[in-house]
């Protein structure tokens, strides 16, 4: 059922040919470790790209370079045609258009759930308070945590916190959403509630870059799977192609280790 609309979104993306995020020849080192090697990746508007790969392959770093939480050593990244600026007002403006969801949720611990979702609207978008609250409440309702609005993050379960984090990012009306292993810190029974929210977002046509180990999500929601190993993009394919017929040995090896039990 979700497959139909996802495929449609993919076609839309393909036909418009509208590139939202473009990484070209990106390199990054952590000391001696060459963590991103000659990365070229283009993400079209409305596309859902899932990045998978073994630990330490650079996939989280890749995700974090897109809103410049990690700087790059060489190459170029553009978002909606604009190159990523240096740290400062310009970059802050650009980051506001790029939603980010972290592995460890990172909700503001001293603010309530509602305040978490309102903060960006008030301080970055300069929205009026009543409008921000209304929007925050409707987003919290959309991710299914409306009843928790006045609690503090520490009073919520991991799954609820992550859904609030998604609502917080959505409140900025981002052009693209980055998910950096959004379910890796969750108890197994909470993973699905977060994935469902992400599935819904994908169906709604949000442009998404998702770093994850959830192969089920990659199969059902991705337009494209990007497989990374040792700092390089080894393979890019549709989920069907990738999971049933991977081309590279590295991907075959990876899949054989994770899918056979």
């Amino acid at each position: 059922m979700s497959g139909v609309s996802v495929t449609k979104a993919a076609q839309d993306a393909a036909t418009t040919g509208d590139d939202l995020v473009v990484l070209s020849d990106v390199n990054k080192h952590f000391g001696a470790l060459h963590v991103l090697q000659d990365i070229d990746l283009t993400i079209a508007r409305g596309e859902v790209v899932v990045v998978i790969g073994p630990s330490g392959s650079g996939k989280s770093t890749l995700c974090r370079t897109i809103n410049r939480l990690e700087t790059i050593d060489s190459g170029a990244i553009t978002i909606d045609g604009k190159p990523l600026p240096q740290e400062g007002k310009e970059l802050a403006r650009l980051r506001a258009d790029v939603g980010m969801v972290f592995q460890s949720f990172n909700l503001f611990a001293h603010k309530t759930v509602l305040e978490n979702v309102m903060l960006g609207q008030l301080k970055v978008r300069k929205a009026d308070k009543a409008a921000a609250e209304e929007k925050a409440r409707s987003l919290l309702d959309r991710v299914g945590v409306a009843t928790q609005a006045d609690k503090y993050p520490s009073q919520l379960s991991g799954g609820q916190q992550q859904r609030v984090a998604i609502a917080r990012a959505l409140a900025m009306d981002p052009k693209v959403m980055l998910f950096d292993e959004p379910t890796s810190a969750l108890d197994p029974e909470m993973i699905n509630e977060v994935l469902e929210v992400m599935q819904q977002l994908a169906r709604d046509g949000m442009t998404m870059v998702v770093v994850t180990h959830e192969m089920g999500f990659a199969r059902s929601a991705a337009n494209r799977v990007v497989f990374m190993a040792d700092g390089k993009i080894v393979e890019e394919a549709t989920p069907d192609q990738f999971f049933s017929n991977p081309r590279s040995d590295r991907a075959k090896d990876f899949l054989s280790k994770i899918l056979h039990h």
């Binding site: 809103n67 939480l69 740290e87 007002k89 802050a92 403006r93 650009l94 980051r95 506001a96 258009d97 790029v98 939603g99 980010m100 972290f102 460890s104 949720f105 990172n106 909700l107 503001f108 611990a109 001293h110 903060l119 960006g120 301080k123 970055v124 503090y152 520490s154 009073q155 984090a165 917080r168 990012a169 900025m172």
Partner: protein, 228 residues
Amino acid sequence: MEAREIVFDFLEGYDLLGAFWVTVKLTVYSALGSLIWGTLLAGMRVGPVPLMRGFGTAYVNIVRNIPLTVIIVFASLGLFQTLQVTLGGGDDFEVINFRLAVLALSLYTAAFVCEALRSGINTVPTGQAEAARALGLSFTQVLRLIILPQAFRSVVNPLANVLIALTKNTTVAAAIGVVEAAYLMKDMIEAEAQLILISAIFAFGFICLTLPTGLLLGWVSKKVAVKR
């Protein structure tokens, strides 16, 4: 009744409450001054501008290693008598000395506030700042809205220590003629015979100021702690 009157006879003619009131005023003004300046210094020390970081580091390391007496005496001899800085006190020595003492105490205590706060900033997980930056908040907004509120909550106890130390440090202001508790004590010791009793009275006075401060802030510390 009789006995007490005889024992505390010598207090006659001394403005004990007035002196302690000056101590309280010195403490409150200096606490506010050092809190503001110390917060700015902490902001500089964790900030992205190398020049400000360097200034913050140098300031803290120089100021906290100079004896307070030297700083207060410098404020009087250097700022006032040599450079004629009166801080708007006109030609009223009492006002000028009081203001110079507040300035010196603030500048000195700010170094300790800064360091307490910086250790509090280190307790805030980096993810908090990353999430705030990812929303598009500027550096100062991240600091003001996310980092400092959490940092302050985790350093109420260390700041209480700084405040108690400040309360007692106000006694150094006697060196430039501010008529606070220690100044009065010196006066009384010169004129009266009950040395131990005088010391005990002033010690008790300071405990009356600092003990409730510590207890209250200890309670506040538990109350505002950020749960993670």
